[in-house]
């Protein structure tokens, strides 16, 4: 799961890299814009993963309690 997510992320970025041609690149100019843009792209990707992780944790917590109670009930039945 973790690996496939990492792979998917990498694939997306490699595609982006292909679009980011370096023709006409000028050295000695402000690198700020490029840093800004790549930050938005990366943050967009990892932000989704981060949100899923947080909400998945919350959802799991929501369901783990009833199932935990269920086990207790099962024990009681025995």
């Amino acid at each position: 799961m973790k690996h496939s997510r990492r792979l998917a992320n990498s694939v997306v970025l490699v595609v982006l890299l292909l679009f980011a041609s370096t023709q006409n690149a000028h050295a000695y100019v402000d690198p700020g814009t490029g840093s800004y843009i790549i930050q938005l792209i990366i943050a967009g990707l990892v932000g989704v993963a981060f949100a899923i992780r947080i909400y998945w944790g919350k959802i799991k917590a929501l369901f783990s309690r009833p199932s935990g109670n269920g086990q207790e009930t099962g024990d009681d039945n025995q």
Binding site: R6, N9, S10, L13, V14, L16, L17, A20, S21, T22, N24, A25, H26, A27, V29, D30, P31, G32, T33, G34, S35, Y36, I37, I38, Q39, L40, I41, I42, A43, G44, L45, V46, G47, V48, A49, F50, A51, I54
Partner: protein, 461 residues
Amino acid sequence: MTTNRGSLPGSFRDPSGFLFVQDGSLYRQVNNVYRENYDHLIQSGLYESVTDSGVMIAHEEVGTDLGRTDDAHKIVKPETVPFISYPYEWCFSQLKDAALVTLRIQKTALDSGMTLKDASAYNIQFTNGRPVLIDTLSFDKYREGQPWAAYRQFCQHFLAPLALMSHTDVRLNQLLRTYIDGVPLDLASSLLPFRTRFTFPLLSHIHLHARSQRHFADRTVNISRRKMSRVSFLGLIDNLESAVKKLKWRPDATYWAGYYDDTTYSEDALHQKKQLVAQVLDQMDPKIVWDLGANVGLFSRVASDRGILTISFDVDPACVEQSYVESVEKGETNILPLWLDLTNPSPNIGWSNEERMSLLQRGPADTVLFLALIHHLAISNNLPLGMIADFLDKICTSLVIEFVPKSDPQVQRLLSTREDIFPDYTQQAFENAFGRYFTVQTAAQITHTERNLYLMTRRQA
């Protein structure tokens, strides 16, 4: 060494305020332009949170009478950092811990509606053995949608050098000595091995980041419409944190790191040498000791265990790493291991050659330990004894120095592969050369060796 308004040369870039020295004490002026941010830092509880948890230096507000210019909002007196060190003097784990503390502060700041506007490695110093943020004016109020202003700087000051140290060569942290604003990402990208393109954090934050910088270098982009959500911001910081945590460096068994296992000292001699050092330290009662050629800090700890602040310098990154890791594990607060080539000590660098101090500018130390080192300088590096004495005269008031004669097995080892062009390397010549600068207080021979340990004090103290 101050500018025309009296500010210190390391603090001129930020219009929010500056550092200055008054009557021997360090102060920080907070300018009116920074008022809103400073007040939010204090009122939101962020200041208390980061100082209580020991990740930022505390300060005391003093009256604005001391203000150097008319637009002083506050004058604060920060806690003193007893010894300033720089990222090109840190071992891998020191730089890594400095990176992690920066990200931790950023996360805490966001909870209080603030963000770090810079992520300079020079804003971190080691006090009591741990990294702390020393720039109180690094925080700006967070506006929903804004990206992390310090992202590029974090990558250049921390992620790129750490990745290079971990994946290419640990000595590449020395690039920080050349590039004052961190390692350029295109350079890092070209020096990192190809396999680092297959890990998401390094592919994105370094390789693609460098490509993106080049791609947009000559393009104008309207960035005002592009926003970054708070979740994305948190995700970015979280991703950088896991990227830094994953980077590892384990020193190989280097020549020096195994020194005490493979040394000419017997147990008795080592014990006696420790006792001698302890005695002279008790006699001299220094506040700060520099241990030069400290190896993994065996003798540094004789000083630091006595509560003396001890800067433990060595040329071998593996030794510094080992010593730092030990200091963290044991919770030691008085020892700071640093990486230094004594034959080429840190120079003063940056704008006007004044932003970062040279080693000499950070001295003198009360006492210098110079143990089992002189033969390496005199024989391996062809340094005349008089020049070594002259240098030591500049950096200490008292000196604990071990003379290792030519008959010693370690010196014989050094001479085995080179012609002996050192007829003047004798104990008498050593005493004469050092006698010009120092007065010998005590001298003792180390058991089972022909080595002698001297306590000397500076003539012009």
